[in-house]
C-alpha cells in the first residue's frame, strides 16, 4: 500500500526536494537575519528589538498562533479548508476556563482540546458528509462558537466565585520551566550589548527562561505533526487525500475517514491553542482569541503548508505581537527593519528578472525607510496592523513558491472521480 501511495505523491516530493535548503543553510539565513536585526538595534539603540523579554513574549504569543496554524495544516493537507479555526479556538478557551477553574489547568487543557475537536467534528460532518462548501461551514462554526461561549459563560460562570458574565473564575497556570545555570550566564552576556553575540544570548535566554510546559507541548506537537504527516504511511495517505482524493480512493484509501480524522485533529489543535490562551492569561474571557485563528491560518499559508514554515510564520506574528507591548522606540526601529527586508527582496526579485515586483518592493521599502527617518515614533494604533501588513506584503511580493495541496477546498464526493 505504501509503495503505491508513494507513487501518488512522487511528483510533490520531487518538486519539494529541488527547492529544499540544507539545515546549515537555514542556520546561515537565521544568523544573517539576526545580524541585520542586531545592526538595526545598534544603530537605533532600541534594545527591546532583541531583548530576552521580547523573545520570551514573542514565543508566548506565537504558541497559540502556531497551534491554530497546525490545525489548519492538518485539515488542509487532507484537502479541507478550515476557516472555523477561530471558532474552535473559542471553544478551547471556554473548555479551559470551565474545567480549569474546577479541576486544575491540565484538566482545562484537556477540556479545551476536546471541545475544539468537537468543533472540528461539526466542520467535518458538514464538509465531508454533506458536501457543504468549506468556507461556508467554517463561517458558520465561527458564528456559533462565540455565541455558545457567551451563552454558557452567562450560565456557568456568572454565579461561580470570581467569575462573571463574560469571564470564568481564575484558572491556575501550568508550571513554567527554566533551564538551570544557562539563563544567568546568558543574561550577563545579554547585558554587555555586544553586536550579534548579545543578541544571540538574548534569543537563547528568551527561549529557555520561564517557559510554559504547554509551550513545550506545542513544540513537540509541531515535530510530531511533521513526523506523522511526512514519515508515516498514515500521513502519506492523509496528504494524498488533499492532493488527489480520487486517485487515493482508487488505491483503496478510505478518503472520508482520513478527512474526518484530519479535521477533528485540526479542531483539537485549535482548541489547544485556545486553552493555552485561557490558561496562560489566568481565565476564560469573551473575545479572548482576537482573530488568532485567522492569523494561524495565514501563518500556515505563509509557511507554504509545511510545519517548519508555519513555525516561522507564527514566530513572525508572535514577534510583532510582542512588539506592541514593548517600548515605542523598538516599534519605530521595526519600520527600518521592514524597509531593509523589502529592499533585500527588491534585489532578489530583480535578480530573478521580475522587474515589476522588484520595483513595487523597492518603492515600498524606500517608503518605510523614509517613514522611519522622518518620524520619531509609530502611532500605537497602527502597530497592531503590523503582522497583517507583513502577511499581505509577503503574499503580494514573495509568494511565487507557495503551493497549496492540489485538491484543497474542493468538495469530495465518493465515487465521483469519473
Amino acid at each position: 500500500m505504501s509503495a503505491t501511495g508513494t507513487a501518488v505523491c512522487a511528483g510533490t516530493v520531487l518538486r519539494a526536494r529541488r527547492q529544499r535548503i540544507s539545515p546549515l543553510g537555514y542556520t546561515g539565513i537565521g544568523l544573517a537575519v539576526l545580524a541585520a536585526v542586531s545592526a538595526v538595534r545598534v544603530a537605533t539603540g532600541a534594545s527591546d528589538l532583541t531583548s530576552s523579554g521580547t523573545v520570551g513574549a514573542a514565543l508566548a504569543a506565537a504558541v497559540p498562533i502556531a497551534l491554530a496554524g497546525l490545525g489548519g495544516l492538518w485539515s488542509e493537507r487532507a484537502g479541507v479548508v478550515n476557516i472555523g479555526l477561530e471558532g474552535q479556538m473559542v471553544l478551547g478557551t471556554l473548555g479551559a476556563g470551565w474545567a480549569g477553574y474546577q479541576y486544575g489547568p491540565w484538566a482545562g487543557v484537556l477540556m479545551g482540546l476536546l471541545l475544539g475537536a468537537l468543533g472540528g467534528l461539526v466542520h467535518a460532518v458538514a464538509t465531508v458528509t454533506f458536501g457543504v462548501d468549506h468556507i461556508i461551514s467554517g463561517v458558520a462554526v465561527n458564528l456559533v462558537a462565540p455565541g455558545l461561549g457567551l451563552f454558557l459563560a452567562k450560565l456557568v460562570f456568572r454565579n461561580a466565585p470570581g467569575g462573571g458574565q463574560k469571564q470564568s473564575p481564575p484558572v491556575r497556570d501550568v508550571r513554567h520551566l527554566t533551564a538551570p545555570y544557562l539563563t544567568s550566564w546568558l543574561g550577563s552576556l545579554e547585558r554587555r550589548q555586544w553586536f550579534l553575540v548579545s543578541d544571540l544570548a538574548a534569543v537563547l535566554r528568551g527561549l529557555t527562561f520561564q517557559i510554559s510546559t504547554l509551550t513545550i507541548v506545542a513544540v513537540l506537537l509541531l515535530v510530531a505533526t511533521f513526523v506523522v504527516l511526512w514519515w508515516t504511511p498514515f500521513g502519506l495517505r492523509l496528504r494524498s487525500c488533499g492532493e488527489a482524493p480520487y486517485a487515493a480512493e482508487s488505491l483503496g484509501v478510505n478518503v472520508r475517514r482520513y478527512k474526518y480524522a484530519a479535521v477533528i485533529v485540526s479542531g483539537a489543535m485549535a482548541g489547544l491553542g485556545g486553552a493555552f490562551l485561557a490558561v496562560s492569561s489566568g481565565q476564560f474571557r469573551d473575545g479572548q482569541t482576537g482573530g488568532r485563528g485567522f492569523i494561524g491560518l495565514a501563518s500556515m499559508i505563509f509557511g507554504n503548508w509545511r510545519p517548519g514554515g508555519l513555525a516561522m510564520g507564527a514566530g513572525l506574528f508572535g514577534y510583532t505581537d510582542a512588539m506592541q507591548l514593548r517600548g515605542s522606540d523598538a516599534v519605530h526601529a521595526l519600520l527600518l527593519l521592514l524597509g531593509i527586508a523589502l529592499l533585500v527582496l527588491t534585489v532578489i526579485q530583480a535578480r530573478a528578472g521580475r522587474v515589476v515586483l522588484a520595483a513595487v518592493a523597492g518603492v515600498l521599502g524606500a517608503a518605510f525607510v523614509l517613514w522611519f527617518a522622518a518620524t520619531d515614533e509609530v502611532p500605537p494604533e497602527l502597530v497592531g496592523a503590523t503582522p497583517y501588513v507583513v502577511t499581505l506584503l509577503v503574499l503580494a511580493l514573495a509568494s511565487q513558491r507557495l503551493r497549496m495541496p492540489k485538491a484543497d477546498g474542493q468538495i469530495y464526493r465518493k465515487g465521483d472521480g469519473g
Binding site: 454533506f130 461551514s137 458558520a140 455558545l148 452567562k154 497602527l382 503574499l395
Partner: protein, 378 residues
C-alpha cells in the same frame, strides 16, 4: 418542466423551512438542558417582536443587513468570497462620516450633501476591496486570506484616524469619541410608524433600489450573464471569451462599493457620526444572510428581515433570565443547517429528475443515483 412548477417551488422552500425548524429544535434542546423553558423563551420573543418599537428596529437592522448581504452575494455569484465586507464598510462609514460632518459641508445643499456622502462611502469601500482585487488579479492571492488581513488593517486604520488629534471629536457628556456630527442638512429623514417614536430609516428606499439593480444587472445585462457564467464554470466562460481577471476585478469593486453602503442607514438616519460604538461585524452577518437567501434579491430581503427580528426580539430574553446569546447560536445553526438542507434537497431533486428521465426513456428502473441522504449520514 416549468421553472415554477409546484414541485420546484415546494422543494425550494423546503430547505429554509427545514433549517429554521431544525435551528429552533436545537435551541429548544439547549434551553431545555440548561434548565430554561424553551416555550416561554420563544413566547417572550414573539410577544416582543409584535411591539411597534421592535418592528421598526427590526426593519432598520434588516435594511443595514441587506446591503451587506448584497455585497457578499455579488462576490458569491462568481465564487468570490468577500469576507472583507466588514472592513470595507467600517472604513467607508468612518471616512464618509468625517467627510459629511466636516465644516465645509455645512453650506452644501442637502441632496447634494447626502449624495456626496454616499458616493464617498461607495468609493472608499470599492477602494479597500480593490486592494484584494489587485492582489488576486496580479498575484493570484486568495481573496479569502487577503480580505481577512485587510479587515484587521482596517480596524487599525479606523482606530488610528478616530483620534481627537485627527478626525475625531469628543462626544459631549461621555467618554466616547466620534467624528464631528453631521448637521441636519446632511441627514436622511426617516418614516414614522404608528405606536412608536422610532423611525424607519429613509435609506430603506436605497436598499430596495440596490436590490432591484442587483436583480436587473444579473438577469438583464451581459455583465451579469458573464458574472454568473464565470461563477458556474470558469473554463466555459474563458472559452466564451470572458476575461476572468476583468470579471474578478469588477465584481470585487462592485461588491466593495455596495459594502460601503452598509454603514449609511445608521450614519445618515440615526447616529449622524462614526463613534467608538458604531456597530461592527455586520459583514459576517451579511455572509449568513446571503447564504440563507441563496443570493436571490427577494430571498435575501426575507432573510435580512428574519435576522433583524431575531436580533431585536432577543433583547427581551435577558430580562426573562435567558442569555440572549441563544439567538446567536440559533443563527449559526440556521446557516449551517440551511446549506446542509440545500445540499440534501439538491440530491433529492437529482434523484427525482433521474427518475423522470428514466420514466421518459421507458425503463422501469431508476438509473443508479447518488446515495440517499440517510445512507450518506452513516
Amino acid at each position: 418542466m416549468s421553472r415554477f412548477s409546484r414541485r420546484s417551488v415546494l422543494l425550494g422552500l423546503a430547505a429554509p423551512v427545514a433549517a429554521l425548524l431544525f435551528a429552533a429544535l436545537v435551541s429548544a434542546i439547549i434551553l431545555g438542558t440548561t434548565g430554561h423553558a424553551p416555550l416561554d423563551a420563544f413566547q417572550a420573543m414573539l410577544a416582543s417582536a409584535k411591539r411597534p418599537r421592535t418592528v421598526v428596529n427590526s426593519i432598520d437592522s434588516a435594511t443595514t443587513y441587506y446591503f451587506s448581504a448584497v455585497a457578499v452575494a455579488i462576490g458569491f455569484r462568481m465564487n468570490l468570497f468577500n469576507i472583507g465586507v466588514d472592513g470595507q464598510y467600517r472604513l467607508a462609514a468612518m471616512l464618509s462620516a468625517a467627510f459629511a460632518g466636516a465644516t465645509f459641508m455645512d453650506g452644501v445643499p442637502a441632496v447634494l450633501r447626502v449624495a456626496a456622502t454616499i458616493v464617498m462611502a461607495m468609493c472608499v469601500g470599492a477602494m479597500w476591496a480593490g486592494v484584494a482585487a489587485l492582489l488576486k488579479v496580479a498575484r493570484g492571492v486568495s481573496e479569502v486570506i487577503s480580505t481577512i488581513m485587510l479587515n484587521a488593517v482596517a480596524t487599525a486604520v479606523v482606530s488610528f484616524l478616530l483620534n481627537p488629534h485627527r478626525l475625531a471629536v469628543s462626544v459631549a457628556g461621555s467618554n466616547n469619541i466620534g467624528t464631528r456630527p453631521i448637521g441636519s442638512g446632511g441627514q436622511v429623514p426617516g418614516f414614522g410608524y404608528p405606536g412608536t417614536s422610532s423611525r424607519v430609516f429613509g435609506l430603506i428606499l436605497l436598499a430596495a433600489l440596490v436590490g432591484v439593480l442587483y436583480s436587473l444587472v444579473l438577469t438583464r445585462t451581459r455583465f451579469g450573464f458573464e458574472l454568473k457564467a464565470t461563477g458556474m464554470s470558469e473554463p466555459a466562460a474563458v472559452a466564451a471569451g470572458v476575461s476572468v481577471k476583468r470579471m474578478v476585478a469588477s465584481a470585487m469593486l462592485l461588491s466593495g462599493a455596495v459594502a460601503g453602503l452598509v454603514g449609511m442607514p445608521q450614519l445618515l438616519g440615526s447616529s449622524y457620526s462614526y463613534s467608538l460604538d458604531f456597530p461592527t461585524g455586520l459583514g459576517f452577518t451579511g455572509i449568513a444572510i446571503a447564504l440563507l437567501g441563496r443570493n436571490s434579491p427577494i430571498g435575501m430581503a426575507f432573510a435580512a428581515l428574519l435576522w433583524g427580528v431575531l436580533d431585536q426580539s432577543a433583547n427581551v430574553l435577558d430580562i426573562t433570565g435567558v442569555p440572549k446569546e441563544i439567538v446567536a447560536i440559533m443563527q449559526g445553526v440556521i446557516v449551517l443547517s440551511v446549506v446542509v438542507a440545500y445540499e440534501l434537497v439538491r440530491r433529492y431533486r437529482l434523484r427525482l429528475e433521474q427518475r423522470d428521465v428514466g420514466r421518459a426513456l421507458g425503463t422501469t428502473e431508476a438509473p443508479p443515483s447518488t446515495p440517499t441522504p440517510v445512507a450518506a449520514m452513516v
